[in-house]
């Protein structure tokens, strides 16, 4: 498997956002409960455009709940979520237009072809058939799956499916990309491919990325980091600062100090 080429889209003169003014994603005081159980407690942080922000937390920390709120799957109980300034409750259409998502569970139609999956997604965004076909062919070429376009998704490997899901999330040319533990279940090589691919999207296309994970080795020193534990944000900011403030040497120990959690060998929380 060759390393996928970056999906460098030809965006139509999107204004270069100024990180100082409008964050790609801003979350202010968001809380969420499932009945008596509180899944998120007063969560606030933001993702700057053209940045890679890692959302680090154990399973059950509230990451997926947060994703469900950002994608308007759940109604917001309290607080505010905005994408490039568009409130997800007040103007969901404008907000979702700028958002691409890769959910943790696979959401492809396994019995449909790669192209059919992409065309369906394009239709959901109101992209005309002709335009959608052109963009799909282009994206499939960039992720090295052009020759598989007519195959059923079922026949792809796990890593290829993920790349297809990322390509699909970029089809409507969003400026914010959410990925919920996208490397779960992938082998080392496929994981590395996906990570480098997404990082290229940040540097080359200025897409803001929120990457939820429980794996420390997916985080690099230049990233922004949000540590989520039991529904609360324990630390946020550039990785270096979070580590220093926790009085630790690396993300691993910083996370352990902040949460008091036992760290599994092999880089996973």
């Amino acid at each position: 498997m060759t390393s996928p080429a970056p999906i460098a889209d030809q965006r139509e003169a999107a204004p270069k956002p100024d990180p100082a003014t409008v964050p790609a994603l801003s979350i202010d005081g968001v809380s969420h409960s499932y009945g008596p159980r509180r899944a998120l407690i007063d969560v606030s942080f933001s993702v700057a455009p053209a940045s890679f922000t890692a959302l680090l937390g154990l399973n059950g920390a509230g990451k997926s709940t947060l994703f469900s709120l950002i994608t308007r799957l759940f109604g917001i109980q309290s607080g505010r979520v905005a994408i490039f300034g568009h409130d997800i409750t007040g103007s969901p259409g404008e907000a979702l237009r700028l958002l691409g998502v890769v959910f943790q569970p696979r959401t492809l139609d396994l019995d449909l072809s790669l192209t059919q999956n992409l065309l369906y997604h394009a239709a959901l965004h109101g992209i005309s058939r002709r335009e959608a076909a052109a963009r799909s062919a282009d994206l499939l070429g960039r992720i090295g799956l052009a020759d598989r376009a007519g195959n059923k998704v079922r026949d792809l490997s796990g890593g290829q499916m993920r790349r297809l899901e990322i390509a699909r999330a970029l089809l409507h040319r969003p400026r914010l990309l959410l990925l919920d533990e996208p490397t779960v279940g992938l082998d080392v090589k496929a994981r590395a491919d996906i990570i480098s691919h997404v990082r290229q999207l940040v540097t080359e296309q200025g897409i803001g990325v929120l990457w939820a994970t429980h794996l420390f080795d997916e985080i690099t020193a230049s990233d922004d980091l949000v540590v989520l534990h039991q529904g609360k944000v324990l630390a946020k900011g550039p990785v270096g600062r979070v580590i220093t403030e926790a009085g630790a040497q690396d993300v691993n120990t910083a996370f352990m100090r902040l949460t008091g959690a036992q760290v599994m060998p092999g880089g996973g929380a």
Binding site: P15, G60, L99, H125
Partner: protein, 282 residues
């Protein structure tokens, strides 16, 4: 740089974007259906069992007098065909709606709901797509029934189409409303016992209502108030090129009420929250 330049002005959605979305959803549902042969076969076997076995047995027991829209004495098979068509739509509506609310199709609902188009429109498209699938099942049934001497006038195959669309939408939105509103009906067996069977049997699907009235006046009123009766009658009349205005009014009103209720009550967090947040992940 001011926030004005970084924030896109809201531009809404054009009619063609809505149309693209609608056709895309129906197209996908059709493709998926074609890949699910078991679903297609079981959707056909159910009414055919009724037609081939039940109707054959009851043919001698039940005599049908001449009632509109029929102009001659008819065989019992001919009488129950519209009821079986409505049954196909009832099952299809319940099945597809249930999967929309609970987790079976959750991945697909996620993909659907991150579309920037309004949620009511997405759910409406989904209901319409479910109806389109039921049309495929119904016409396959009608084709087989034709060989069984159920031969409505050729134009009836066309005039029944609008009736089928309306009844399909009504039953689909009813299914969605029920699955959103009643917690206990999470599984299909529950829906069968408490919704499908009562609706089907307390209707004009299997016996004309004047016969029911002879047996039990109370049951007659129940049948009259059952929207499913009116779906059956709407289909029955349309199949013979006629309009049953009362049934049309009832089905149209119920469709609107159920659909508004279903869209209002739709809450994707239900199916997820039950199993822990978002598929068991934090």
């Amino acid at each position: 740089m001011s926030s004005i330049t970084t924030r896109d002005a809201p531009r809404g959605f054009s009619a063609s974007e809505y149309m693209t979305c609608l056709t895309g959803i129906v197209w996908r549902e059709g493709l998926r259906f074609l890949h699910q042969r078991e679903r297609f076969i079981s959707a056909l076997v159910r009414p055919l069992v009724w037609l081939f076995i039940f109707a054959a047995g009851f043919r001698q027991v039940l005599g049908i007098s001449i009632i509109p829209p029929y102009e001659t004495y008819i065989l019992y098979e001919v009488y129950i065909a519209p009821g079986l068509i409505a049954m196909i739509q009832l099952f299809n509506g319940m099945q597809s709606s249930l999967s929309m609310v609970y987790d079976r199709e959750m991945g697909n609902m996620r993909t659907l709901l991150v579309s920037p188009l309004p949620r009511w429109f997405l759910l409406f498209c989904k209901l319409l797509a479910g109806t389109a699938v039921s049309l495929l099942q119904v016409y396959a049934f009608l084709l087989i029934a034709w060989f069984w001497d159920i031969t409505p006038p050729p134009s009836g195959y066309l005039t029944v189409l609008p009736a089928l669309i309306l009844s399909g939408l009504m039953l689909g939105s009813l299914g969605m409303l029920i699955s959103s509103g009643i917690k206990q009906l999470e599984n299909f067996a529950g829906v069968m016992n408490f919704v499908i069977f009562p609706m089907f049997f307390a209707s004009s699907a299997l016996y004309p209502l004047w016969r029911v009235q002879e047996g039990s006046p109370y049951l007659y009123y129940v049948c009259e108030a059952n929207p499913f009766t009116h779906a059956v009658e709407l289909i029955r009349f349309a199949l013979y090129g006629q309009i049953n205005w009362i049934s049309l009014a009832v089905v149209a009103t119920c469709t609107i009420v159920f659909m508004i209720g279903a869209i209002y009550a739709y809450d994707p967090s239900r199916g997820l929250a039950r199993r822990g947040p978002a598929g068991g992940e934090g």
